[in-house]
């Protein structure tokens, strides 16, 4: 390697920075701090043309070091961040936000709140308009903290209520928090974005005070407004809200339908399938089958007894009624090449039987229908089950044997 014997300011700071980064990667915080002291003088030079200047670099690196260094304290950190705030006007609100997060992570909720309030009141010419996004976030997080206070007050009241105490001041406090929180949370939920936490809290507040319409509207916007980024959680929240308010099955199903499209492996798919199976409409039942098959495509569901039992129930029902076997055929068509190895191998048969009898039961039923009585899985499990003289396995064996022709029709 050729070692340059030349050196200038820029190069020496680049080299210094690489030493800092190296030390940080090795978690050598003392060494990182040491080299940072030599890097700091680059603040005295103009880097306005660079993408990331020394002030931002120092802010980020300094934060990392102070987070991890054994001798660092919150006090040190705060003093450091205050200096960083004065360093770059263009970054002021961002630094405030990150400072807040840090305070929250350390459980300093009051300090975080103060920090946000101070930031909210910051004005700096045209910068205020430029940093509008950060300002909105700051307001939103303050709203969140207001919600948190409100929640605390509420719990106090509920406790006291049980004990028979009345507490006017707490109630007033609570209402005031409510007002403050709703103002900011309402604002942020209007802007397209992913605001799960804010939405949840906002809806909680609205529901408590009985403003269900507003709550429903917010959730609808969040889930259905195309300007908002696609977010499975939005549909989950809407569904939960509708369920809470006893809405019709129809609206529940339509809420979950989108969830299925977006996240077919979501845990709510079981609820969805259950609802759909019970439906009187053929289309809905058809959809139910599709939903449960789709869910079981995912590895995370392999050992989910509930899911298998849903599938087993529906498949069994179809087979007994002898109607709509083509449904099963269609669903099985795209899966018959890989589901056997994925779910119904002999190894899995053994394991499932050993670890979870119910799981093996449900799966055996499905395997027996889809792959016939001679398939590895069914053979092994039913044999084991019968050997162990578990009643339901005997019934299962009889059932599948009787229905074997069905398998031929499905697989054909």
């Amino acid at each position: 390697s050729s070692h340059e014997h030349k050196l200038n300011f820029k190069k020496s700071k680049e080299v210094c920075l690489s030493y800092i980064q190296d030390a940080m990667l090795h978690k050598q915080w003392k060494r990182a701090a040491e080299f940072l002291t030599f890097y700091i003088e680059s603040l005295e030079k103009d880097y306005s043309r660079e993408y990331m200047g020394p002030s931002e670099i120092i802010w980020r690196i300094g934060t990392e070091i102070l987070c991890h260094h054994s001798q660092s304290s919150m006090k040190e950190f705060n003093s450091f961040i205050e200096q960083m705030k004065t360093l770059g006007v263009k970054r002021f609100l961002k630094v405030c936000l990150e400072h807040t997060f840090h305070l929250l992570c350390n459980g300093l909720i009051d300090e975080a709140y103060q920090n946000l309030s101070l930031a909210e009141s910051w004005r700096y010419g045209e910068q205020t308009a430029i940093q509008d996004k950060e300002m909105k976030l700051i307001q939103a997080y303050r709203g969140l903290l207001d919600y948190y206070s409100w929640s605390k007050q509420k719990n106090i009241l509920l406790e006291h209520g049980q004990d028979g105490f009345e507490d006017l001041s707490v109630e007033q406090e609570m209402h005031s928090c409510f007002r403050k929180a709703t103002v900011n949370l309402k604002e942020i939920t209007k802007i397209p974005g992913v605001w799960d936490q804010f939405v949840k809290c906002y809806v909680d507040l609205l529901e408590f005070y009985g403003d269900h319409n507003e709550a429903r509207q917010v959730l609808n916007e969040y889930a259905y407004n195309s300007k908002f980024p696609a977010n499975p959680n939005a549909h989950v929240y809407l569904y939960q809200f509708l369920k809470r308010h006893g809405e019709s099955k129809k609206s529940l199903i339509s809420a979950l339908k989108i969830l299925h499209d977006v996240a077919p492996s979501h845990e709510l798919m079981i609820d969805f399938n259950t609802m759909l199976q019970k439906s009187k409409k053929r289309k809905k039942r058809r959809l139910g089958l599709e939903v449960i098959f789709a869910a079981l495509d995912y590895a995370g569901w392999k050992e989910n007894v509930k899911a298998w039992s849903c599938l087993a129930r529906q498949v069994k029902q179809i087979v007994i009624s002898e109607k709509h076997l083509d449904w099963i055929k269609v669903e099985w068509n795209s899966r018959k090449d890989w589901w056997p190895a994925f779910h119904f191998s002999r190894y899995l048969a053994k394991r499932n039987w050993q670890e979870n009898e119910s799981l093996s039961y449900e799966k055996a039923l499905v395997a027996g229908i889809l792959l016939g009585k001679d398939c590895k899985y069914f053979k092994y499990v039913s044999h084991q089950g019968c050997k162990a003289q578990v009643k339901r396995f005997r019934i299962l064996k009889k059932f599948v044997n009787k229905r074997n022709p069905v398998y031929l029709r499905i697989s054909g």
Binding site: S2, H3, E4, H5, K6, L7, N8, F9, K10, S12, V15, C16, S18, Y19, W29, K30, R31, A33, E34, F35, L36, T37, F38, I40, E41, L43, E44, K45, D46, S48, I58, G62, I65, L66, H69, Q71, S72, E76, S79, F80, Q83, T86, L87
Partner: protein, 574 residues
């Protein structure tokens, strides 16, 4: 002289001038507040001569500053450097006589002082922070935009407030100015003919003076002392007196943001010597430190090589006649003679000798080493034979350690100093605030660095590596013998190694591509590269410079053989 008022105290008209430029009555010694106004350019010239020799300060301004010229600044720099050199052991003659005279001669030649009238210079320079001056009507005012294109070093000397943006306010030029009277003129004029003074050039001056006195300090030594902080260079303006305010364009002139480069300082020195019309320098004879025989001795010691190698370096030096005074001595302006870089030359001689004795083709030297090792195992009473392998291990180890240290030092190098710099008075408070923050942050993270204190400046030493024979681990090779690799033929000691490979068969034309050869590590044996790397580290220059010199020496050494055979194998017999 033109002052005709009567004295308030004694009513006489008998005025004189104090050192401070005020009028005083010679009869009653009453000092007035009236000061001598600047009237004509002749007076200005005289002022400068006076200020240079006496250090007079004229015309106190509101901020406590005074007028000063750029060359005065450089004079101060040179003075400080000379003092530092004296502290390092250089004889006082250097500062008081040699350097002084060189500098005066320079001022004369460049017509900045010591002459009747500076050519073409008007003193209607950019007014210095004097808001009363109506600068817009100045016909001579140079365009500020022009200054931006002149950049001496890589770094922009801008504070956080960008200088670029302020050019739009050209008419408000009071925001950009210079503390010195002629800072703007200095940068603007095309001074190529006059050899404009720069910070690196101060080192050229120093080296030139050292060379004249034949002091035992090579250019690489000098530059190393500069980087280590023993000689003022970086932030030398700290030493300017309070009244000499630096701002604006002065920063471009006096602030340094890169290490001095050997080539640059050397070339400027030659230019300077020619410019000053200096005669032939005092002869470099074989008793001088800079003579290759002496320098080779030093470098051999530093490289931990056997003293016996010195015989060989002397032989090579003699054979190619580079030990002669006519070759070694600098004759300024003589374009035909090749200029000598003493340190590089000596290092290259050693490299050639190593090639002669050990071949350094990644095979032979290890073979020889194995033989020596065998012999050393079986014979412990007589002195050890030199084993290349052992030496290699020892040196590599040290070199890696030192290199690592140096790399860390480069990363830790601090460029700023206590005394802050600002482009203009407006930026001052911002700069000061910034500096305060820097100091705070440095303290905060300094505490978190653990027990590590900033390393003390290493004591200046001529030797970077030292080896002692008292060490029990036998890591000193000075006394080792070369017997194993030598043989006697016709009463003359020659190398056992019969071969030699040339670094390059043909030298490049320096005028076309700047170098006689072009070094690429991959094209050469690793042992060769290692040896180059060693001296590259000691001299703080690129291996290619040493390689260039090696090529030149080889071509001199094998000149006859090269001329004889037009078609030519790189391996040849000596």
């Amino acid at each position: 002289r033109d002052f005709n008022e009567r004295c308030a105290q004694c009513s006489e008209v008998n005025w004189g001038l104090t050192d401070g430029g005020r009028f005083y009555c010679r009869s009653c010694h009453n000092v007035t507040e009236r000061t001598r106004e600047v009237v004509n350019t002749d007076f200005i010239t005289n002022t400068r001569i006076q200020t240079i020799s006496k250090g007079l300060r004229k015309q106190e301004k509101t901020d406590g500053g005074c007028e000063w010229y750029v060359c005065e600044g450089f004079q101060l720099v040179l003075k400080k450097q000379a003092e530092a050199l004296e502290a390092l052991g250089v004889c006082p003659q250097m500062k008081d006589e040699i350097l002084c005279n060189f500098w005066r001669r320079y001022l004369q030649k460049s017509k900045q002082a010591y002459c009747k009238r500076p050519a073409g210079e008007t003193v209607k320079a950019l007014s210095v922070c004097d808001s009363s001056t109506d600068v817009d009507s100045e016909p001579e005012r140079p365009s500020l935009l022009h200054f931006l294109s002149l950049s001496e070093s890589d770094g922009d000397l801008q504070t956080d407030c960008s200088f670029v943006s302020s050019t739009s306010k050209v008419s408000e030029s009071t925001s950009v100015c210079s503390g010195s009277v002629d800072g703007s003129l200095y940068l603007m004029k095309n001074q190529k003919e006059k050899l404009r003074m720069t910070m690196p050039m101060t080192l050229s001056f120093c080296y030139m003076a050292l060379l004249w006195l034949r002091e035992p300090m090579t250019l690489s030594d000098l530059l190393r002392f500069v980087v280590e902080g023993h000689i003022p260079y970086l932030n030398v303006f700290q030493h300017f007196p309070e009244q000499m305010k630096l701002c604006g364009l002065d920063l471009k002139i006096f602030c340094v943001e890169s290490w001095p480069v050997y080539e640059e300082v050397y070339t400027k020195m030659l230019e300077l010597a020619a410019f000053l019309d200096l005669p032939r320098f005092p002869d470099i004879t074989d008793s001088c430190f800079l003579h290759p025989d002496m320098l080779c001795m030093k470098y051999l010691m530093e490289a931990n090589l056997p003293d016996e190698l010195h015989n060989w370096t002397c032989r090579v030096v003699k054979k190619i006649r580079i030990g002669e005074a006519d070759f070694l001595t600098l004759v300024p302006g003589n374009k035909s003679t090749r200029k000598v870089k003493y340190d590089v030359l000596a290092a290259a001689v050693i490299v050639v000798v190593l090639k002669l004795l050990f071949l350094l083709d990644d095979h032979y030297e290890w073979l020889l080493s194995d033989f020596a090792e065998e012999r050393n195992k079986n014979n412990k009473e007589d002195g050890p034979y030199f084993e290349f392998k052992k030496w290699y291990k020892v040196i590599k180890c040290s070199l890696d350690v030192e290199q690592k240290k140096m790399d860390e030092e480069r990363a830790k190098y601090l460029w700023r100093c206590e005394k802050p710099l600002f482009y203009s008075a407006e930026k001052k408070s911002k700069v000061l605030k910034r500096r305060q923050m820097v100091v705070n942050l440095q303290n905060q993270f300094g505490k978190l660095s653990g027990s590590v204190l900033p390393a003390e400046k290493p004591n200046p030493s001529s030797f970077q590596l030292s080896w002692s024979e008292e060490n029990a681990d036998e890591s000193c090779f000075h006394g080792h013998s070369l017997k194993g690799i030598l043989q006697e033929k016709c009463g003359v000691l020659t190398a056992v190694n019969p071969d030699y490979w040339l670094c390059t068969v043909k030298l490049c034309n320096e005028k076309l591509c700047g170098h006689p050869a072009h070094y690429k590590e991959v094209d050469f044996p690793q042992s060769y590269h290692f040896v180059l790397r060693l001296f590259s580290f000691l001299l703080r220059i690129q291996p290619s410079y040493i390689h260039d010199e090696v090529c030149l020496i080889e071509h001199k050494l094998f000149n006859k053989k090269l001329c004889k055979k037009p078609k030519f194998n790189p391996g040849l017999r000596k």
